[in-house]
Amino acid sequence: MADSDGEYVQDASDDEYLGGINSYGTRTQGKGKVRARENARPQQAWESAIRTGLDTFKEAADGTIQQSVQEREEERKRKRLRKDARPFQRGIIRHVVLVLDLSEAMLEKDMRPNRYITIIKYTQEYVREFFEQNPISQMSVMAMHDGLCLRVSELSGNPTDHIGAIQGLRFPKNPRDVPKEPKGSPSLQNALELARATLYHTPSHGTREVIIILGALLSLDPGDIHATIKSCVRDRLHVNVIGMGGRLRICQEIVGRTNAGDESGYVVATDQESLRDLLLATTTPPVIRSTAAETFSGEMETTATPAESAASLLMMGFPSRIIDNVPTLCACHGNLTRGGYTCPRCSVKICSLPATCPGCHLTVILSTHLARSYHHLFPLRLWKAVSWHKAKKKGSRECVGCLSLFPDPPAEETEASNGIIADDASDSEVDDKAEEEVGQQKASESSRYQCRSCKSHFCIDCDLFCHEVLHNCPGCLSQANSSAAVVQDVNTDVAMIG
């Protein structure tokens, strides 16, 4: 307890200091509308989270904080938009090993009721979301427990297998088994070695990823972990680490080495909510780096690194659905089922898809499963916030998607003083690019958000819905010409980057 108190005080003083800079800056600009945060340097996760205190409320010109509260709410919502708006070549076929920490550090109560129960709850949610986003991918779950790494579930594409196994950690199916309570220290080396062995046979067209959730601030390894890291690099593993409480030098090294020097895969969760967000952020398929960049980064062994994006043509079966009058056995589980699918190559009956045919090992899939991944390849670009000035110019009165009314622009012209207009001018083009690059999402003062291609205005709820669930822009698709143009545009972008 004493420890965490000390930490808090330290952070708070840091916070004061930054706050000082902010208020100084705004004073010189005059008392117009104030964007709450402008940070000179990129912040680490734990710093920014603590700063969302009361001090970020700013009084509006008329002395109310109503507008400010609403803006903060919207800003918080928009932050959650996944930052996958730029078209990149992505690894759609993923092989992921999820490593959970079950060491005694997970008994810590900084998450409710404790880290262990929180993580069991979130990973089940995570598995569902993962297969929702990556229907043709495979996953395996492991746990670091008392110095060892245990295999919780085998590599498979069926979410219920994993969820059952994760639940089984706390509530074992076999009543004689003891529930796995957190114990001992974690071993990153053992975890990496087991993950490497699991992913060793996966085909080269898919990704090989390891996602480690680490609660402890140590790793108790039986040997030289640097040798293990080296062999992970050789086997093209990509390791992401989600830490808790603090950053570790060794994790930074693991992530950096296995991701061609990019350390952004190492993140630290400050609280429950951020842990969940960080976890869910990894459900987006990773960007595939071009092979050139891979060999360029110096410290890699150039000898054994195979081509990263060894694209290949996969043979897949597209079965037809059958409905039998009498139940028959399925080949995959041996259950009696009425409906099912027949493998187009060996005519074996399979009860659920996607699956690998048990008879001939053909990947059997529905074309709709492939279509589920298309939105990663042709993502919807993020929308930009609309200033009062522009909102007035366009005169939009309601959201194009849901027809809910926007707030009316402020009647008095005092708002549109020189400062604001100048701000607008600079805002428009330069900021447009920059904002997208950084991926920083501000709230809109006018509660309007504009699609970059069709220029329609939307409300915050539609913004979130369209980017998180729908992946379409209702405005673009409602005009015949622009929709075709957008798809083409995205297509060329993919080709250029990929």
């Binding site: 919502k77 949610e125 290949s312 043509l313 699956a355 690998t356 992946h471 698709l477 409602s478």
Partner: protein
Amino acid sequence: MNAIDATDRHIKSTDGPPPSLLAIILDTNPHAWAHLSSILPLSKAVASLLVFINAHLASGNANEVAVIASHSQRTHWLYPTPTLPTPHSTSTSNGHDANGTVPENANKYRPFAVIETAILSNLTTLLNSTTASSLSATSTTQISGALSTALSYISKSHIRHSPVDPTINDHSTITTPDTDGILGQQRVSLTSRILILSVSGDLANQYIPVMNAIFAAQRQRIPIDILKLAGDTVLLQQACDATGGIYMAPESPQGLLQYLMMGFLPDATARRALVLPSAGSVDFRAACFCHRKVVDIGYVCSVCLSIFCIPSLPDSKCLTCDSHLSLSTTLTVTPALIPRKKKKRKRGPGESATPAGSSTPAPGSGTPTHS
């Protein structure tokens, strides 16, 4: 069963079944309606639709309706009437004309009259604004735009109806699993569905956006019903199948009203107690991107997931994304043989006694074997 849910307190005032939102997408593709005109003119179809809407509104106090036209070039709101943008804030009382001039008729229930006038006047505006040049440009319909708009509208209505903190709502829309329906049912106080009155055929050019919309509907548990008066498209059949909607392709479109009232009036709550018209068999086979040929076994680009019917592409480059594709891994290796060898080698000393047993875990362990 809703009693433990905090959202319920708000709803309790409207005794009875939960309010139901019906979003209707009327395909107004002029080409298709021209074909149909001898059997079922658009005017008659709209008249039937209005009766159906009234029936829907009458079957529940809090029921709502939204109508969107999916025209050849754009989508258009028929009800509720959108407010047009007024550039440079000139006048504020604009765009409500359609609702403002409801003729007073003592013999008509006023809400019915309001909707009828709005739909008819908006439809007239839409048809009047259709020019000959725009007609010749395309013969398809903007069904993807209409679906996206309808889904956004429904999603906002859900937020409006549940007094829960919208962030909680958002979280659960992301995370609600496909598999268990109970959780989603309890939270959502508004049941909604989409009905598409479709007359157009080929929609292949909108494949990706329509698919995105289908998955969104599936996640939100919004059934998409299809009444297909003309044309034929696999895409909409798949939409029905994926979202648990009703698909009907009547042979005689003259009986439109009958089909609507009998097949599509019951909402999700009532449907649980009914035997529904079944979609029959749905065609799930994929069409190749190169010749639009339906294939059983296809070759899929691992980068962009395009489907091809032949393994030998020109220059062994993907036709969609241009990446260089190696065929070696899938074609030169016979998939069934390699894993067997590994299994035997690994398990040889330990459990060689049961060769049959060694093949059973194979499907479970999945891919490590099928390299």
